[in-house]
Structures are given as C-alpha cells and as structure tokens.
C-alpha cells in the first residue's frame, strides 16, 4: 500500500500533508487544519486580483500540458455577458497516473476550495467536477464533502457570507480515457459521445454549453489555496532547476520499484533520487532498464537518461521527453519492451474516439504490426513501417491521442531497437500475445 506512507525526508509535503488522515475529509476537520481561509480571503478580493496572484505564482497546469494557470484564467471574458463555467478535470486515466485519486480520497475539501477560488476568479456560477466512472470511492468521498460544504454555507446562494452564489456539481463519467481531453470532457458533460472538438473556438470563448469555460486539473486546483495563503513569492521560490517550473508536484510511481506510491517533491527534483531513495530502488536483484516519467503518453527514457533527468517541464524536455501528468512508470531488466509497446499501443487503439482516420486506423495498425513481430513473423522493414506510420500519426489529428501512441513507438524503437530486432532475427522466443477484449 502506498498510503498512508510516512513522508520521506526529501519530500516537500504540501498537497499530500493530510494524505492518510481521515479526519481531514470532513468539513470540521478541514477547517481545523486551516481550510477555507484561502477562499474567504479570495472572496474579499476582486476576481482579477486572484487571477493576478495565481499568474505571478508561476503555477502551471498539472494535467499534462503545463500551461500557466493564471494566464489561462485571464483568457476568460472580463465583462460578463453570458454564464461562465469551470470544469475540474478528474478523469485521471493516463496510464501511470493516480495522484488526483489520492487528492480526492484524502483531501476532498482542498479540491472544493481550489475549485471555488478558481470559479470566483473566472466569474463562473457553476463548477462541474468530472470524475471518471471507475473512481467510485473518490466519487463517494467528494459527494459527501460537497454536501458538507453546502451544509456549512461554503457553497450555495451566499457562499461564505459573500453574497455570491457558487454552485458545484459532480458529473460522473462512464469509462473513456478520451474524456480527459478538455473538449471531449465538455461534450461528455453535455451528454454527448466524448469526441474532442476542433479548436478554435477555444474553451474560454466557447466551451461547455457554448459558454466561456476554463478547464483545470485536480492537482492544479488543489494547489491554489496554498498559493493564496502563503503568497505567490513563496510558491515561486519552490524550484530546484529552472525558474519556469515551480511549486511542488505529485509523482505517481508505478512498476518495478520497492515502494510504489505518490511522492510530492519540489519541481526540478532528480528522477534518479525519486526512484532510488524515495521508492527504495528496484525490486530485489533487479536493475533499472527504462522509465516513462510523465504518464504513458510521453517518450520513454533509457537507464542513463533516467538517472540524469530532472523532474520539471524543462528538465524532461532536455532528455527528450515531457513531464506530462507526473506518472512515473519504472521498468526493470525483466520487462519486454516490445510486448509493452504493443500493450500501450493497444491502450491507445482501444481508447481512440475514432473521429480521425490517422488515429483510428493508425493505432490499430500499429498494434497489428507489433503483434506480428511478437509472434516471430516480423520482417526487417516492419520497423521502418512502424516509424513511417508513427510519423503519419503525429500532428495531424484533432487531439493528441494519436501523437501519444506514436511517441511510445518512436521512443521505444529508438532506445530499444535491439529488442525488436531480436524478435525479427528469431533469437528471441516469440511472445504469447493474449487477446484483449475490445
């Protein structure tokens, strides 16, 4: 069990301070721990002041793209002529990522408070928290916390005595990775198939129900109360590598380490230390082979790259990968990279919404080629075919699901070409490819 784990001395515990502390889940428990002070303070400011504070804190989106949060909020119309909406993205389905789940399980009021502040800042009357259908426990806890927040006047027609109306509702998904993509998420809230939309128009102009909308990730929003309480300068000062990346980040570590789980560190923390110190290193008798540092959609790193990668937006780019959602997947020397590439491609093929040809056809074709290679029937030209296909799947579709599948293929062939070639040369036992459903 990753939780509750005692924080490691190298962690910077801010968002995860109350993970494992069940009392923090109730309204009273949260207030006792300093909760809702930031919301109160925010409601006493002008919305634009709140946006300014978040802008100057340097907070960037934790959902994957790393877009500056305050800047995103400032795209919302200042003069209100229509309803505004905030959508909180709690669809968390990127393989390797399980941090938002933990925030909702242990500190639901941190998320409600963050949402309420953001909602006020962008002048939205309603927040929809979009929770993936499989998150039954987080959903129950969030619903209980929302009821508690309404019951205590945090939300409703006179939010914290401010005279303002703030409403917040949970929208339960029903199984679709793509609904984490922000425009698909909006379609799903509207009761449609979760197909991503073509941009422009951007959500700040025309989002859910055709109204100005901001979408933020759970972790992004949960960081906001801390920024209001302790000031943007404090947040900005939390940075170990590049000043453009600051604050703390929850890294979800999975795979072949001794102690998988969520670890909160300051931006710029070394990936090698995360794996070796915080997670206790590799399983007994095994060695590190590869690591995907930002959820399955970012390029894979080999051992040397993993050991020198710094965990922030710039540090990851320097290694040829991305920080993404902070889902760190660790592989030891027992992992079959060809099989796992196929398994990830199968994930993307299963989750493609099938609107764009390159994605619908490309993901499935990628799986079939890889299955052929695994069955010992690959030909040398198959690697070029895979790379050519990946090229055709990059930068050509409505959303980047297709690009993500391609990134997996390209980066794995680049780093572990010998494993593919071994299958082709027949020097490796053909893998037994189990058939997946769907």
């Amino acid at each position: 069990m990753g939780y509750p784990h005692k924080p490691h001395e190298k962690e910077t515990v801010i968002l995860s301070e109350y993970f494992g502390d069940a009392e923090a889940r109730s309204y009273d428990g949260w207030v006792k721990r300093g909760g809702y002070k930031a919301l109160k303070a925010s409601l006493e400011m002008q919305p634009a002041e709140v946006v300014e504070i978040v802008k100057s804190s340097g907070l960037r989106g934790r959902g994957g793209a790393g877009f500056p949060t305050g800047v995103k909020w400032s795209f919302m119309p200042k003069e209100k002529s229509k309803p505004h909406y905030l959508c909180c993205n709690a669809d968390e389905a990127e393989p390797g990522t399980f941090k938002d789940r933990e925030i909702m399980r242990w500190t639901p009021h941190a998320l409600i408070e963050g949402c309420a502040i953001a909602q006020y800042a962008i002048q939205a009357e309603i927040t929809y928290i979009y929770i993936r259908g499989e998150f039954t426990e987080p959903l129950r806890i969030m619903q209980a916390a929302l009821d508690d927040a309404y019951g205590n006047g945090v939300l409703g027609d006179n939010a914290m005595g401010s005279g303002r109306r703030l409403d917040m509702y949970i929208h339960r998904g029903a199984g679709a990775y793509i609904c984490g993509e922000e425009t698909a998420l909006m379609n799903s809230i509207e009761g449609q198939r979760g197909n991503p939309r073509i941009r422009p128009p951007f959500p700040a102009a025309s989002g859910v129900f055709g109204m100005p909308t901001t979408i933020n990730n759970v972790e992004t929003l949960a960081a906001v109360p801390h920024i209001i309480n302790r000031g943007p300068e404090w947040y900005k000062s939390l940075s170990l590598n590049n000043e453009k990346s600051c604050g703390t980040k929850l890294f979800s570590v999975s795979g072949h380490v001794q102690r998988p789980g969520n670890y909160e560190v300051t931006m710029g923390f070394p990936l090698g230390e995360l794996i070796n110190d915080l997670c206790g290193g590799m399983r007994q008798g095994r060695t590190l082979k590869a690591c995907i540092p930002g959820g399955s959609s970012v390029p894979i790193l080999n051992r040397e790259e993993t050991e020198s990668c710094l965990l922030d937006y710039e540090g990851c780019v320097e290694m040829g990968t991305m920080l993404g959602s902070g889902g760190v997947i660790v592989f030891d020397d027992s992992a079959d990279m060809v099989y796992q590439t196929m398994r990830l491609a199968r994930f993307y093929a299963h989750e493609s919404c099938a609107q764009c040809t390159q994605c619908r056809e490309g993901t499935g074709w990628t799986v079939r080629i890889l299955e052929r290679i695994l069955a010992g029937q690959g030909e040398p030209k198959d690697l070029d075919l895979l790379l050519d296909l990946a090229d055709q799947m990059t930068g050509k579709t409505i959303c980047v699901l297709s690009d993500s599948c391609a990134a997996v293929v390209i980066s794995t062939i680049k780093r572990f070409r010998n494993e593919f070639e071994a299958y082709m040369a027949g020097t490796r036992e053909p893998g037994v490819v189990a058939a997946g459903v769907g």
């Binding site: 399980f98 426990e137 998904g173 999975s254 969520n262 997947i329 994930f347």
Partner: protein, 164 residues
Amino acid sequence: MEQTTEYAPVFTGDNRKRLDEVLARYPAKRAGLLAALWMVQEQHGWVSDEAMAETADVLGLTPSYIKGVVTFYTMYHQHPVGKTFVQVCTTTPCNICGAEEVVEAFLEHTGCGDLGATSPDGKFTVIEVECLGACGFATPVMMNEDVIENVTPEKVPDLVKQYS
C-alpha cells in the same frame, strides 16, 4: 437479448425525483443523459433497448442518439452480465507487475473460462480493463463498484468466494 419479463420503467417515483434534481444542475436536458444511464444500469444491471427508449422519452432525445452514447462509454453494459462484474487492469504499469496472471486466476476460479463470458452459474463476468488510475497498487481489480488493490493470483480464490 430476449426479455422474459415485462420491462419495468426506471424513471418513476423516487428515481424520477432524483433525475429531476440532476437535470436542475444543467442548462440543457441532454446533459443529464450519463446520469440517467447510470440510474438505468443501477436498476436493471444493463442498458436494454427498452431502457434506451424510455430514457429517450424522458429526456426528449431519440433512441438512436442514446445508443450512440451508450456504445461510446465502456462502462454501460449492452448485454446482461454476471452478478459480479470483474474488471482487471492489464495496462502496462500493471501488466509488468503480473496483471495477466491475475486475469488467468479469475477466469479459472470463477469458471468463466473466457474473457467477456459469464460463468455458467451466472455469478461472474471477467474482462480486462484499461488503466483504473490505481497503478501504484498493482493489480487493481474492480468488482462491481468496489476497487480492490494489490490483487495477486493467490488472493483470487478468496475474492471469488467473498463475491459469490
């Protein structure tokens, strides 16, 4: 799928009230569709053509529109399933920690035999599922609405007994 008994409507009495509460949260009726389909599945265990027709009626949509949505989202069952629906995550982070062996153990101990098939006693259906968002607790398994973490093949017989 044949219906042997007459279709029991979902959106009456308390359920109708619950649905109205949900609809009040949105500026458009259609936005209540996902929640309505969850209510259908809660009552019937799956979403039948009759249920789609009823939902269409209640929300002012067409049955074909509803079918388009039902078929998009993997959690809505388009056929009856076993009393306990078992979903084992086999995506890469869990896969490298032995998730496929957990699937094998479930297929064997439930008597389902094949993925997607229902056991002869009607108690279980087992499928592989993509990332459940609990990758640090490999292997997570959903049994109906419960997520069980750190499942290993050794733990499967007990789980099967518990849910029988």
